[in-house]
């Protein structure tokens, strides 16, 4: 299946070109590998989530701490984890 990838931001295209060059692969191959890696990562995450079960309601302190540790915006972290954030709720 052939697809066309269109960037709204020229900077993204520049970064993609540089990253692909750094790995010595074409931009097409770089994107293909990235998609494969993301799909693999999401597959593992989904299986682990099914095993762990949903995050409990009192998990927000841990979510905020983990977000701060990884340098991720707390609201974005809550979104990624499928929980309501303090800020979004307030």
């Amino acid at each position: 299946m052939a697809m066309t990838l269109r960037f709204d931001d020229d900077n993204d295209a520049t970064r993609l070109r540089a990253a692909a060059a750094a790995e010595g692969v074409s931009m097409n191959e770089f994107v293909r590998r990235s998609v494969h890696e993301r799909l693999e990562r999401m597959s593992v995450l989904q299986k682990l989530r099914e095993a762990w079960g949903p995050l409990p309601a009192d998990a927000m302190d841990d979510v905020h701490r983990a977000a701060a540790s990884l340098g991720i915006d707390p609201d974005h972290a809550a979104e990624l984890l499928g929980v309501a954030s303090y800020r979004a709720a307030s």
């Binding site: 693999e40 990562r41 682990l48 989530r49 995050l55 979510v63 990884l70 990624l80």
Partner: protein, 134 residues
């Protein structure tokens, strides 16, 4: 091969972090691992010695979770496959190979070690950065 300094920032997971992330109890290590996988912005480095110890501590029916985690892109096992590296690790601690290996990973990669053994880690490797487990 990229040098550690060129790699994206990550976390080193010690035995307790792996056990807690696998069982989900206490919650923090599970949340950290889940968020790292969901965001895809940080590498999770697992020293193979800590991996072996965690597998040994986990109930047999939960081991598959930890084994599955190690198959994910963004999760790397740090293997003991080099003589010089083994010597460097042994120089850190003669008494606890797992502790020494975890500390070595933290220093070598320059990434925080998620651990419940902050004091022990600092004794064997003064400069290692530690993110203490709750």
């Amino acid at each position: 091969m990229t040098s550690p300094a060129d790699r994206p920032r990550g976390r080193v997971l010690d035995t307790a972090a792996l056990v807690q992330a696998t069982t989900g109890k206490p919650l923090y290590a599970r949340v950290l691992v889940e968020l790292a996988l969901a965001a895809g912005t940080a590498t999770l480095l697992i020293p193979v010695t800590a991996y072996v110890q965690a597998l040994a501590e986990l109930p047999a029916d939960l081991r598959w979770r930890l084994m599955l985690l190690t198959t994910s892109p963004g999760v790397e096992l740090d293997l003991l496959d080099d003589r010089e590296k083994a010597h460097e690790i042994a120089d850190l601690s003669a008494a606890d190979a797992t502790l020494a290996h975890v500390a070595w990973c933290g220093v070598r990669y320059g990434w925080p070690v998620v651990s419940d053994r902050m004091v022990d880690l600092r004794i064997v490797a003064l400069g290692v950065e530690v993110e203490p487990l709750p």
